[in-house]
Protein backbone atom coordinates (compact mmCIF):
# COMPACT_ATOMS: atom_id res chain seq x y z
CA UNK A 1 0.00 0.00 0.00
CA UNK A 2 1.76 3.14 -1.13
CA UNK A 3 0.66 6.20 0.79
CA UNK A 4 -0.36 8.90 -1.64
CA UNK A 5 -1.12 12.51 -0.86
CA UNK A 6 -4.85 12.70 -0.38
CA UNK A 7 -7.50 14.43 1.62
CA UNK A 8 -9.35 12.74 4.46
CA UNK A 9 -12.88 13.51 5.64
CA UNK A 10 -11.57 13.79 9.20
CA UNK A 11 -8.40 15.28 10.73
CA UNK A 12 -5.24 13.22 10.25
CA UNK A 13 -1.92 13.95 11.93
CA UNK A 14 0.52 13.86 9.02
CA UNK A 15 3.43 15.98 7.92
CA UNK A 16 1.77 16.45 4.52
CA UNK A 17 -1.12 18.49 5.90
CA UNK A 18 -1.87 21.08 8.57
CA UNK A 19 -4.80 19.39 10.30
CA UNK A 20 -2.93 19.58 13.62
CA UNK A 21 -0.75 22.26 15.22
CA UNK A 22 2.22 21.69 17.57
CA UNK A 23 2.00 17.94 17.02
CA UNK A 24 3.91 15.26 15.12
CA UNK A 25 4.02 11.54 14.49
CA UNK A 26 6.75 9.40 13.02
CA UNK A 27 8.56 6.14 13.50
CA UNK A 28 12.18 5.02 13.32
CA UNK A 29 12.36 1.66 11.58
CA UNK A 30 15.32 -0.66 11.36
CA UNK A 31 15.26 -3.89 9.36
CA UNK A 32 18.04 -6.41 9.96
CA UNK A 33 18.58 -9.77 8.35
CA UNK A 34 19.07 -12.90 10.43
CA UNK A 35 19.02 -16.59 9.54
CA UNK A 36 15.81 -17.24 7.57
CA UNK A 37 14.13 -14.15 8.99
CA UNK A 38 14.16 -10.39 9.16
CA UNK A 39 13.87 -8.49 12.42
CA UNK A 40 12.07 -5.22 12.31
CA UNK A 41 12.49 -2.75 15.18
CA UNK A 42 10.15 0.18 15.35
CA UNK A 43 10.15 3.20 17.67
CA UNK A 44 7.03 5.30 17.42
CA UNK A 45 7.39 9.00 18.25
CA UNK A 46 4.12 10.78 18.94
CA UNK A 47 3.84 14.41 20.02
CA UNK A 48 0.19 15.01 20.84
CA UNK A 49 -1.04 14.48 24.39
CA UNK A 50 -4.64 13.67 23.54
CA UNK A 51 -3.79 11.09 20.90
CA UNK A 52 -1.36 9.52 23.40
CA UNK A 53 -4.20 9.40 25.90
CA UNK A 54 -6.45 7.75 23.35
CA UNK A 55 -3.82 5.02 22.91
CA UNK A 56 -3.39 4.60 26.68
CA UNK A 57 -7.15 4.28 27.08
CA UNK A 58 -7.22 1.49 24.54
CA UNK A 59 -9.25 3.47 21.98
CA UNK A 60 -6.43 3.72 19.47
CA UNK A 61 -3.14 1.99 18.74
CA UNK A 62 0.00 2.12 16.66
CA UNK A 63 0.22 -0.12 13.64
CA UNK A 64 2.80 -0.92 11.02
CA UNK A 65 1.50 -1.76 7.57
CA UNK A 66 3.97 -4.10 5.89
CA UNK A 67 3.80 -5.08 2.25
CA UNK A 68 6.00 -7.00 -0.15
CA UNK A 69 4.20 -6.63 -3.51
CA UNK A 70 6.49 -8.98 -5.47
CA UNK A 71 5.47 -11.91 -3.25
CA UNK A 72 1.91 -10.61 -2.70
CA UNK A 73 2.49 -10.44 1.04
CA UNK A 74 0.67 -7.89 3.15
CA UNK A 75 -0.04 -7.65 6.86
CA UNK A 76 -0.32 -5.29 9.79
CA UNK A 77 1.33 -5.47 13.19
CA UNK A 78 -0.26 -3.71 16.17
CA UNK A 79 1.34 -2.10 19.21
CA UNK A 80 0.00 -0.36 22.30
CA UNK A 81 3.49 0.72 23.36
CA UNK A 82 5.86 2.96 21.41
CA UNK A 83 8.39 0.18 20.79
CA UNK A 84 7.77 -2.93 18.74
CA UNK A 85 9.94 -5.78 17.52
CA UNK A 86 8.58 -7.94 14.71
CA UNK A 87 10.04 -11.07 13.16
CA UNK A 88 9.25 -11.66 9.51
CA UNK A 89 9.92 -15.02 7.87
CA UNK A 90 12.37 -14.67 5.00
CA UNK A 91 10.18 -16.79 2.73
CA UNK A 92 7.50 -14.10 2.53
CA UNK A 93 9.72 -11.24 1.44
CA UNK A 94 11.04 -10.43 -1.98
CA UNK A 95 12.21 -7.23 -3.67
CA UNK A 96 10.68 -4.03 -2.36
CA UNK A 97 9.28 -4.06 1.19
CA UNK A 98 7.23 -1.02 2.11
CA UNK A 99 6.53 -0.28 5.74
CA UNK A 100 4.19 2.48 6.83
CA UNK A 101 3.40 3.53 10.42
CA UNK A 102 -0.10 4.62 11.41
CA UNK A 103 -2.23 5.32 14.43
CA UNK A 104 -5.76 3.96 14.03
CA UNK A 105 -8.89 3.80 16.14
CA UNK A 106 -9.30 0.48 17.92
CA UNK A 107 -13.02 0.86 18.23
CA UNK A 108 -15.88 3.14 17.27
CA UNK A 109 -14.99 6.61 18.63
CA UNK A 110 -17.86 9.02 19.06
CA UNK A 111 -17.45 12.82 19.07
CA UNK A 112 -13.73 12.74 18.36
CA UNK A 113 -11.92 16.04 18.69
CA UNK A 114 -8.46 17.25 19.74
CA UNK A 115 -7.23 20.49 21.37
CA UNK A 116 -4.44 20.78 18.79
CA UNK A 117 -6.63 20.70 15.72
CA UNK A 118 -6.34 23.43 13.14
CA UNK A 119 -8.86 26.20 13.81
CA UNK A 120 -10.76 25.15 10.68
CA UNK A 121 -12.09 22.28 12.77
CA UNK A 122 -13.40 24.47 15.58
CA UNK A 123 -16.74 23.18 16.80
CA UNK A 124 -16.71 20.07 14.62
CA UNK A 125 -16.68 16.60 16.16
CA UNK A 126 -16.27 13.31 14.32
CA UNK A 127 -17.68 9.82 14.65
CA UNK A 128 -14.94 7.44 13.63
CA UNK A 129 -15.40 3.74 13.02
CA UNK A 130 -12.87 1.07 13.92
CA UNK A 131 -9.68 1.14 11.87
CA UNK A 132 -9.92 4.84 10.96
CA UNK A 133 -6.55 6.46 10.27
CA UNK A 134 -5.69 9.07 12.91
CA UNK A 135 -2.03 9.62 12.08
CA UNK A 136 0.39 8.67 9.28
CA UNK A 137 4.16 8.40 9.59
CA UNK A 138 6.74 8.36 6.84
CA UNK A 139 6.58 5.30 4.60
CA UNK A 140 9.92 3.53 4.37
CA UNK A 141 11.08 1.24 1.62
CA UNK A 142 13.56 -1.56 2.13
CA UNK A 143 14.92 -3.89 -0.51
CA UNK A 144 15.47 -7.57 0.00
CA UNK A 145 18.00 -9.09 -2.36
CA UNK A 146 17.87 -12.85 -2.30
CA UNK A 147 20.60 -13.57 -4.77
CA UNK A 148 23.36 -11.18 -3.91
CA UNK A 149 25.98 -13.42 -5.43
CA UNK A 150 24.38 -12.95 -8.85
CA UNK A 151 24.43 -9.22 -8.61
CA UNK A 152 28.07 -8.50 -8.12
CA UNK A 153 29.11 -8.44 -11.79
CA UNK A 154 27.52 -6.55 -14.61
CA UNK A 155 27.67 -9.36 -17.22
CA UNK A 156 25.46 -11.58 -15.06
CA UNK A 157 22.50 -9.33 -15.72
CA UNK A 158 22.47 -10.22 -19.41
CA UNK A 159 21.81 -13.49 -21.09
CA UNK A 160 22.39 -14.00 -24.78
CA UNK A 161 20.49 -16.92 -26.31
CA UNK A 162 19.91 -18.51 -29.70
CA UNK A 163 16.70 -17.85 -31.63
CA UNK A 164 16.01 -20.98 -33.64
CA UNK A 165 15.72 -19.21 -36.98
CA UNK A 166 18.03 -18.56 -39.88
CA UNK A 167 15.97 -15.62 -41.05
CA UNK A 168 17.75 -12.29 -40.88
CA UNK A 169 16.24 -10.56 -37.90
CA UNK A 170 17.06 -7.67 -35.62
CA UNK A 171 18.35 -8.40 -32.14
CA UNK A 172 15.48 -9.12 -29.75
CA UNK A 173 15.66 -7.55 -26.29
CA UNK A 174 13.37 -8.49 -23.39
CA UNK A 175 13.48 -6.54 -20.14
CA UNK A 176 10.62 -8.14 -18.23
CA UNK A 177 12.78 -10.75 -16.57
CA UNK A 178 15.43 -10.98 -13.88
CA UNK A 179 18.09 -10.91 -16.56
CA UNK A 180 17.97 -8.84 -19.71
CA UNK A 181 17.52 -11.34 -22.53
CA UNK A 182 19.17 -10.77 -25.88
CA UNK A 183 18.04 -13.08 -28.70
CA UNK A 184 20.19 -13.65 -31.81
CA UNK A 185 19.37 -15.76 -34.85
CA UNK A 186 21.34 -18.99 -35.41
CA UNK A 187 24.14 -17.42 -37.49
CA UNK A 188 24.54 -14.40 -35.25
CA UNK A 189 24.48 -16.56 -32.15
CA UNK A 190 27.20 -18.87 -33.49
CA UNK A 191 29.39 -15.90 -34.41
CA UNK A 192 28.76 -14.40 -31.02
CA UNK A 193 29.65 -17.68 -29.32
CA UNK A 194 32.94 -17.93 -31.28
CA UNK A 195 34.03 -14.41 -30.41
CA UNK A 196 32.66 -13.72 -26.96
CA UNK A 197 35.76 -14.98 -25.18
CA UNK A 198 38.52 -13.07 -26.98
CA UNK A 199 36.65 -9.99 -28.18
CA UNK A 200 34.49 -9.26 -25.17
CA UNK A 201 35.01 -5.52 -25.20
CA UNK A 202 34.00 -5.23 -28.87
CA UNK A 203 30.91 -7.32 -28.24
CA UNK A 204 30.10 -5.25 -25.18
CA UNK A 205 30.25 -2.12 -27.32
CA UNK A 206 27.96 -3.23 -30.13
CA UNK A 207 25.63 -5.61 -28.29
CA UNK A 208 25.50 -4.83 -24.58
CA UNK A 209 25.96 -1.07 -24.80
CA UNK A 210 22.95 -0.40 -27.08
CA UNK A 211 20.92 -2.87 -25.05
CA UNK A 212 21.62 -0.85 -21.93
CA UNK A 213 20.70 2.37 -23.73
CA UNK A 214 17.40 0.73 -24.68
CA UNK A 215 16.90 -0.37 -21.06
CA UNK A 216 17.44 3.17 -19.76
CA UNK A 217 15.00 4.52 -22.33
CA UNK A 218 12.37 2.11 -21.03
CA UNK A 219 13.21 2.95 -17.41
CA UNK A 220 12.66 6.61 -18.21
CA UNK A 221 9.20 5.76 -19.57
CA UNK A 222 8.11 3.46 -16.79
CA UNK A 223 10.43 3.47 -13.79
CA UNK A 224 8.38 1.34 -11.37
CA UNK A 225 7.87 -1.45 -13.87
CA UNK A 226 11.46 -2.63 -13.63
CA UNK A 227 12.62 -1.93 -10.08
CA UNK A 228 12.01 -5.46 -8.79
CA UNK A 229 14.09 -7.21 -11.42
CA UNK A 230 17.58 -8.44 -10.59
CA UNK A 231 19.18 -6.57 -13.48
CA UNK A 232 17.80 -3.32 -12.13
CA UNK A 233 19.22 -4.01 -8.69
CA UNK A 234 22.59 -4.77 -10.24
CA UNK A 235 22.50 -1.41 -12.00
CA UNK A 236 21.65 0.25 -8.70
CA UNK A 237 24.75 -1.34 -7.22
CA UNK A 238 26.90 -0.07 -10.05
CA UNK A 239 25.67 3.47 -9.58
CA UNK A 240 26.25 3.25 -5.84
CA UNK A 241 29.95 2.79 -6.62
CA UNK A 242 29.85 6.29 -8.07
CA UNK A 243 27.82 7.51 -5.07
CA UNK A 244 24.78 7.90 -7.29
CA UNK A 245 21.25 6.72 -6.56
CA UNK A 246 19.48 5.06 -9.49
CA UNK A 247 16.18 6.85 -9.06
CA UNK A 248 13.73 8.76 -11.22
CA UNK A 249 15.66 12.00 -10.73
CA UNK A 250 18.89 10.47 -11.99
CA UNK A 251 17.35 8.96 -15.13
CA UNK A 252 15.55 12.22 -15.85
CA UNK A 253 18.68 14.30 -15.46
CA UNK A 254 20.96 12.32 -17.78
CA UNK A 255 20.64 10.86 -21.26
CA UNK A 256 20.44 7.09 -21.68
CA UNK A 257 23.75 7.18 -23.53
CA UNK A 258 25.44 8.85 -20.58
CA UNK A 259 23.91 6.42 -18.11
CA UNK A 260 24.91 3.36 -20.12
CA UNK A 261 28.48 4.61 -20.50
CA UNK A 262 28.68 5.22 -16.79
CA UNK A 263 27.61 1.67 -15.96
CA UNK A 264 29.97 0.13 -18.50
CA UNK A 265 32.81 2.44 -17.69
CA UNK A 266 33.39 3.92 -21.14
CA UNK A 267 32.83 0.84 -23.32
CA UNK A 268 33.59 2.58 -26.61
CA UNK A 269 37.13 3.51 -25.59
CA UNK A 270 37.87 -0.07 -24.57
CA UNK A 271 36.39 -1.45 -27.77
CA UNK A 272 38.29 0.99 -30.00
CA UNK A 273 41.49 -0.04 -28.30
CA UNK A 274 40.70 -3.71 -28.95
CA UNK A 275 39.65 -3.08 -32.54
CA UNK A 276 43.02 -1.37 -33.04
CA UNK A 277 44.79 -4.43 -31.70
CA UNK A 278 42.76 -6.66 -33.96
CA UNK A 279 43.68 -4.63 -37.05
CA UNK A 280 47.34 -4.66 -36.08
CA UNK A 281 47.25 -8.45 -35.83
CA UNK A 282 45.44 -8.67 -39.14
CA UNK A 283 48.06 -6.60 -40.89
CA UNK A 284 50.84 -8.69 -39.40
CA UNK A 285 49.20 -11.91 -40.62
CA UNK A 286 48.92 -10.52 -44.14
Amino acid sequence: MDIKYRLYPHPVLWDKNDDYIDSSFDCEIELTREIKKFVLQANFNLRNIELEKLIKNGQAEYILHIESPASSYRLIEKSQGNKKIIKLADEHLLGKISICPFIVTKEHVIDFTNSNLNEDYNGVNFNLCKGTILAIGTQQIFKVDKENEDLSQVPSIFTVYKKETIEEMPVEIELNDNKIRIGLNITDYENYFLNVQNKASVINAFLIYPTLIFAFERIKESFDEYTDYRWFKALEKMFKKYSLELDEDLVASKTSIELAQKVMNLPISKALLDVGTTFDNYEEEQ
Binding site: M1, R74, C129, Y161, N176
Partner: protein, 292 residues
Amino acid sequence: MKIHFMKDEALTYFKGNVDANLQNYLCKDNSWIYERYAIYKGEDESPFAEFKFEVPDFQLDMSAEKPENTDYNNVQILYTALKDISDTQASDERFWVGLAHSDLWEYMQYRCKLKIDDIVANKIERNYFFSLGNKRSLIVHPLARMWWVGRLIYDSHKKEHFSALEYMKIDFSTKVLSLFSSNFTNNPTITRSILNAIVVIELNGQKVGRSAYLEIVRYVNLLGGIIILDYLSEEELKEKILNHYCEVHNVSFNFENEESLSTIEQIVDNSQIPYNYKKDGIISKQFVAAHV
Protein backbone atom coordinates in the same frame (compact mmCIF):
# COMPACT_ATOMS: atom_id res chain seq x y z
CA MET B 1 5.90 -36.99 -5.73
CA LYS B 2 8.79 -35.07 -7.19
CA ILE B 3 8.10 -31.92 -9.16
CA HIS B 4 10.35 -29.93 -11.45
CA PHE B 5 11.22 -26.32 -12.15
CA MET B 6 12.90 -25.00 -15.29
CA LYS B 7 16.52 -23.91 -15.12
CA ASP B 8 17.32 -20.27 -15.76
CA GLU B 9 19.09 -20.79 -19.03
CA ALA B 10 16.43 -23.18 -20.34
CA LEU B 11 13.73 -20.67 -19.46
CA THR B 12 15.48 -17.98 -21.46
CA TYR B 13 15.92 -20.33 -24.41
CA PHE B 14 12.37 -21.68 -24.56
CA LYS B 15 10.75 -18.35 -23.79
CA GLY B 16 12.71 -16.73 -26.59
CA ASN B 17 11.86 -19.50 -29.05
CA VAL B 18 8.12 -19.92 -28.74
CA ASP B 19 7.65 -19.22 -32.46
CA ALA B 20 10.08 -21.94 -33.49
CA ASN B 21 8.47 -24.46 -31.11
CA LEU B 22 4.86 -23.54 -31.68
CA GLN B 23 3.77 -26.85 -33.17
CA ASN B 24 5.63 -28.77 -30.46
CA TYR B 25 3.13 -27.53 -27.91
CA LEU B 26 0.60 -29.81 -29.57
CA CYS B 27 2.79 -32.91 -28.96
CA LYS B 28 1.39 -35.64 -26.75
CA ASP B 29 4.40 -35.54 -24.47
CA ASN B 30 7.22 -33.17 -23.66
CA SER B 31 10.15 -35.21 -25.00
CA TRP B 32 10.85 -32.51 -27.62
CA ILE B 33 11.90 -30.16 -24.81
CA TYR B 34 14.71 -32.50 -23.78
CA GLU B 35 15.72 -33.06 -27.41
CA ARG B 36 15.84 -29.37 -28.24
CA TYR B 37 17.77 -28.50 -25.15
CA ALA B 38 20.29 -31.29 -25.70
CA ILE B 39 21.04 -29.86 -29.16
CA TYR B 40 21.44 -26.39 -27.66
CA LYS B 41 23.45 -27.18 -24.54
CA GLY B 42 24.78 -30.72 -24.96
CA GLU B 43 23.60 -34.29 -24.39
CA ASP B 44 23.71 -34.42 -20.61
CA GLU B 45 22.00 -31.11 -19.98
CA SER B 46 18.43 -31.25 -18.72
CA PRO B 47 16.24 -28.15 -18.95
CA PHE B 48 14.64 -29.08 -15.60
CA ALA B 49 15.81 -29.51 -12.03
CA GLU B 50 14.04 -31.27 -9.19
CA PHE B 51 12.28 -29.00 -6.74
CA LYS B 52 13.91 -29.31 -3.34
CA PHE B 53 10.87 -30.73 -1.54
CA GLU B 54 8.61 -33.60 -2.47
CA VAL B 55 4.89 -32.85 -2.50
CA PRO B 56 1.88 -35.13 -1.90
CA ASP B 57 0.70 -36.99 -5.01
CA PHE B 58 -2.00 -35.13 -6.86
CA GLN B 59 -3.94 -35.42 -10.10
CA LEU B 60 -5.71 -32.42 -11.56
CA ASP B 61 -9.30 -32.76 -12.73
CA MET B 62 -9.59 -32.98 -16.52
CA SER B 63 -13.09 -34.43 -16.65
CA ALA B 64 -15.21 -31.51 -17.86
CA GLU B 65 -15.88 -30.81 -21.49
CA LYS B 66 -15.23 -27.14 -20.80
CA PRO B 67 -11.84 -27.05 -19.04
CA GLU B 68 -12.66 -23.78 -17.26
CA ASN B 69 -15.35 -25.65 -15.33
CA THR B 70 -12.63 -27.62 -13.56
CA ASP B 71 -10.89 -24.53 -12.13
CA TYR B 72 -13.02 -24.64 -9.00
CA ASN B 73 -11.94 -28.22 -8.23
CA ASN B 74 -8.39 -27.76 -9.37
CA VAL B 75 -7.70 -24.74 -7.16
CA GLN B 76 -8.47 -27.00 -4.22
CA ILE B 77 -6.44 -29.95 -5.53
CA LEU B 78 -3.39 -27.92 -6.54
CA TYR B 79 -3.27 -25.67 -3.49
CA THR B 80 -3.82 -28.54 -1.06
CA ALA B 81 -0.88 -30.39 -2.62
CA LEU B 82 1.42 -27.37 -2.89
CA LYS B 83 0.38 -25.28 0.10
CA ASP B 84 3.74 -25.74 1.81
CA ILE B 85 5.74 -23.92 -0.85
CA SER B 86 6.68 -20.39 0.16
CA ASP B 87 5.29 -17.16 -1.27
CA THR B 88 8.62 -16.36 -2.87
CA GLN B 89 8.85 -19.80 -4.49
CA ALA B 90 5.30 -19.36 -5.75
CA SER B 91 6.29 -16.00 -7.26
CA ASP B 92 9.13 -17.55 -9.24
CA GLU B 93 8.54 -17.92 -12.96
CA ARG B 94 10.91 -20.91 -13.17
CA PHE B 95 8.66 -22.88 -10.82
CA TRP B 96 5.42 -22.50 -12.81
CA VAL B 97 7.07 -22.69 -16.23
CA GLY B 98 8.79 -25.88 -15.07
CA LEU B 99 5.56 -27.50 -13.94
CA ALA B 100 3.75 -26.42 -17.11
CA HIS B 101 6.43 -27.97 -19.31
CA SER B 102 7.01 -31.16 -17.30
CA ASP B 103 4.81 -32.65 -14.57
CA LEU B 104 1.60 -30.91 -15.68
CA TRP B 105 2.16 -31.03 -19.44
CA GLU B 106 -1.04 -32.97 -20.13
CA TYR B 107 -3.16 -30.73 -17.93
CA MET B 108 -1.81 -27.59 -19.61
CA GLN B 109 -2.83 -28.85 -23.04
CA TYR B 110 -6.28 -29.64 -21.71
CA ARG B 111 -6.73 -26.31 -19.90
CA CYS B 112 -5.37 -24.14 -22.70
CA LYS B 113 -7.50 -25.93 -25.30
CA LEU B 114 -4.63 -26.01 -27.77
CA LYS B 115 -5.78 -26.80 -31.30
CA ILE B 116 -3.79 -27.18 -34.47
CA ASP B 117 -5.72 -24.48 -36.32
CA ASP B 118 -5.55 -21.70 -33.75
CA ILE B 119 -2.24 -22.08 -31.98
CA VAL B 120 -0.46 -18.72 -31.79
CA ALA B 121 2.73 -17.61 -30.03
CA ASN B 122 0.90 -15.10 -27.87
CA LYS B 123 -1.30 -17.80 -26.37
CA ILE B 124 1.69 -19.99 -25.50
CA GLU B 125 3.63 -17.06 -24.03
CA ARG B 126 0.71 -16.05 -21.84
CA ASN B 127 -0.18 -19.54 -20.63
CA TYR B 128 3.16 -21.34 -20.42
CA PHE B 129 5.41 -18.42 -19.41
CA PHE B 130 5.21 -15.14 -17.48
CA SER B 131 4.76 -12.69 -20.31
CA LEU B 132 2.93 -9.82 -18.64
CA GLY B 133 5.40 -8.85 -15.92
CA ASN B 134 5.82 -10.94 -12.80
CA LYS B 135 2.96 -9.61 -10.74
CA ARG B 136 0.24 -9.79 -13.36
CA SER B 137 1.46 -13.11 -14.67
CA LEU B 138 0.73 -14.67 -11.28
CA ILE B 139 -2.97 -14.25 -11.97
CA VAL B 140 -2.82 -15.03 -15.70
CA HIS B 141 -0.64 -18.15 -15.84
CA PRO B 142 -3.17 -21.00 -15.35
CA LEU B 143 -1.16 -22.86 -12.69
CA ALA B 144 0.17 -19.86 -10.75
CA ARG B 145 -3.32 -18.36 -10.80
CA MET B 146 -4.86 -21.43 -9.18
CA TRP B 147 -2.20 -21.52 -6.47
CA TRP B 148 -2.51 -17.82 -5.65
CA VAL B 149 -6.29 -17.98 -5.56
CA GLY B 150 -5.95 -20.93 -3.16
CA ARG B 151 -3.38 -19.06 -1.07
CA LEU B 152 -5.68 -16.05 -0.68
CA ILE B 153 -8.86 -18.03 -0.10
CA TYR B 154 -7.76 -21.03 1.99
CA ASP B 155 -8.98 -20.69 5.57
CA SER B 156 -7.27 -23.13 7.91
CA HIS B 157 -9.71 -22.27 10.73
CA LYS B 158 -12.77 -23.43 8.85
CA LYS B 159 -13.90 -26.96 8.15
CA GLU B 160 -14.58 -25.99 4.57
CA HIS B 161 -11.19 -24.49 3.79
CA PHE B 162 -12.26 -23.18 0.41
CA SER B 163 -15.77 -21.91 1.16
CA ALA B 164 -14.95 -18.44 -0.19
CA LEU B 165 -14.31 -20.05 -3.57
CA GLU B 166 -18.02 -20.67 -4.20
CA TYR B 167 -18.53 -17.39 -6.01
CA MET B 168 -15.66 -18.19 -8.39
CA LYS B 169 -17.31 -21.38 -9.57
CA ILE B 170 -18.49 -19.72 -12.76
CA ASP B 171 -16.45 -17.33 -14.88
CA PHE B 172 -13.36 -18.05 -12.79
CA SER B 173 -10.61 -16.28 -14.75
CA THR B 174 -12.51 -13.00 -15.30
CA LYS B 175 -13.41 -12.79 -11.63
CA VAL B 176 -9.87 -13.57 -10.58
CA LEU B 177 -8.53 -10.80 -12.81
CA SER B 178 -10.84 -8.10 -11.52
CA LEU B 179 -10.54 -9.09 -7.88
CA PHE B 180 -6.81 -9.59 -7.76
CA SER B 181 -6.04 -6.42 -9.67
CA SER B 182 -6.49 -4.55 -6.39
CA ASN B 183 -3.51 -4.48 -4.05
CA PHE B 184 -5.61 -5.04 -0.96
CA THR B 185 -6.39 -8.59 -2.05
CA ASN B 186 -2.80 -9.49 -1.13
CA ASN B 187 -4.23 -9.83 2.35
CA PRO B 188 -6.16 -13.13 2.48
CA THR B 189 -8.50 -11.81 5.20
CA ILE B 190 -9.67 -8.99 2.93
CA THR B 191 -10.09 -11.31 -0.04
CA ARG B 192 -12.12 -13.79 1.98
CA SER B 193 -14.29 -10.98 3.41
CA ILE B 194 -15.27 -9.89 -0.08
CA LEU B 195 -15.90 -13.38 -1.43
CA ASN B 196 -17.73 -14.60 1.65
CA ALA B 197 -19.94 -11.50 1.62
CA ILE B 198 -20.88 -12.31 -1.98
CA VAL B 199 -21.59 -15.92 -1.03
CA VAL B 200 -24.00 -14.63 1.66
CA ILE B 201 -25.69 -12.27 -0.79
CA GLU B 202 -26.20 -15.08 -3.30
CA LEU B 203 -27.45 -17.44 -0.61
CA ASN B 204 -30.13 -14.85 0.02
CA GLY B 205 -31.36 -15.10 -3.51
CA GLN B 206 -29.56 -12.09 -4.97
CA LYS B 207 -27.49 -12.58 -8.11
CA VAL B 208 -24.20 -10.74 -7.96
CA GLY B 209 -23.53 -9.92 -11.58
CA ARG B 210 -20.50 -8.22 -13.01
CA SER B 211 -21.57 -4.66 -12.22
CA ALA B 212 -22.65 -5.49 -8.65
CA TYR B 213 -19.36 -7.30 -8.17
CA LEU B 214 -17.29 -4.38 -9.44
CA GLU B 215 -19.36 -2.05 -7.27
CA ILE B 216 -18.39 -4.09 -4.21
CA VAL B 217 -14.69 -3.98 -5.13
CA ARG B 218 -15.00 -0.23 -5.71
CA TYR B 219 -16.63 0.23 -2.32
CA VAL B 220 -13.83 -1.68 -0.57
CA ASN B 221 -11.33 0.51 -2.41
CA LEU B 222 -13.09 3.64 -1.18
CA LEU B 223 -13.29 2.30 2.33
CA GLY B 224 -9.54 1.68 2.22
CA GLY B 225 -9.08 5.41 1.70
CA ILE B 226 -10.30 6.15 5.21
CA ILE B 227 -9.60 3.08 7.28
CA ILE B 228 -6.88 0.46 7.30
CA LEU B 229 -8.75 -2.49 5.77
CA ASP B 230 -6.22 -4.93 7.17
CA TYR B 231 -7.18 -3.82 10.68
CA LEU B 232 -10.69 -5.25 10.42
CA SER B 233 -11.48 -8.89 11.03
CA GLU B 234 -12.98 -10.94 8.21
CA GLU B 235 -16.42 -10.73 9.82
CA GLU B 236 -16.23 -6.97 10.35
CA LEU B 237 -15.31 -6.19 6.77
CA LYS B 238 -17.83 -8.70 5.46
CA GLU B 239 -20.51 -6.98 7.48
CA LYS B 240 -19.62 -3.55 6.10
CA ILE B 241 -19.81 -4.93 2.56
CA LEU B 242 -23.19 -6.52 3.24
CA ASN B 243 -24.54 -3.31 4.76
CA HIS B 244 -23.34 -1.36 1.78
CA TYR B 245 -24.86 -3.85 -0.65
CA CYS B 246 -28.23 -3.65 1.12
CA GLU B 247 -28.14 0.12 1.06
CA VAL B 248 -27.18 0.42 -2.62
CA HIS B 249 -29.64 -2.23 -3.79
CA ASN B 250 -32.36 -1.23 -1.37
CA VAL B 251 -32.77 -4.74 0.01
CA SER B 252 -32.60 -6.32 3.41
CA PHE B 253 -32.10 -9.94 4.32
CA ASN B 254 -31.15 -12.27 7.13
CA PHE B 255 -28.16 -14.50 7.21
CA GLU B 256 -26.93 -17.20 9.50
CA ASN B 257 -23.49 -16.57 10.83
CA GLU B 258 -21.21 -19.51 11.45
CA GLU B 259 -18.73 -17.62 13.61
CA SER B 260 -18.66 -17.92 17.39
CA LEU B 261 -20.88 -15.82 19.61
CA SER B 262 -18.00 -13.94 21.21
CA THR B 263 -16.79 -12.57 17.88
CA ILE B 264 -20.26 -11.34 17.07
CA GLU B 265 -20.73 -9.71 20.45
CA GLN B 266 -17.59 -7.73 19.89
CA ILE B 267 -18.85 -6.53 16.53
CA VAL B 268 -22.16 -5.49 18.08
CA ASP B 269 -20.31 -3.33 20.61
CA ASN B 270 -18.24 -1.67 17.94
CA SER B 271 -20.63 -0.98 15.15
CA GLN B 272 -24.01 -0.58 16.84
CA ILE B 273 -25.78 -2.77 14.33
CA PRO B 274 -28.95 -4.45 15.59
CA TYR B 275 -28.88 -8.22 15.89
CA ASN B 276 -31.55 -10.78 16.65
CA TYR B 277 -30.34 -13.77 18.56
CA LYS B 278 -31.85 -17.18 18.04
CA LYS B 279 -32.22 -19.63 20.87
CA ASP B 280 -29.81 -22.19 19.44
CA GLY B 281 -26.93 -19.75 19.50
CA ILE B 282 -26.93 -19.19 15.77
CA ILE B 283 -27.32 -15.55 15.07
CA SER B 284 -29.34 -13.92 12.39
CA LYS B 285 -29.31 -10.26 11.75
CA GLN B 286 -31.27 -7.70 9.88
CA PHE B 287 -28.99 -5.57 7.84
CA VAL B 288 -29.54 -1.90 7.91
CA ALA B 289 -27.69 0.92 6.27
CA ALA B 290 -24.68 1.81 8.37
CA HIS B 291 -22.35 4.75 8.15
CA VAL B 292 -18.82 3.56 7.38
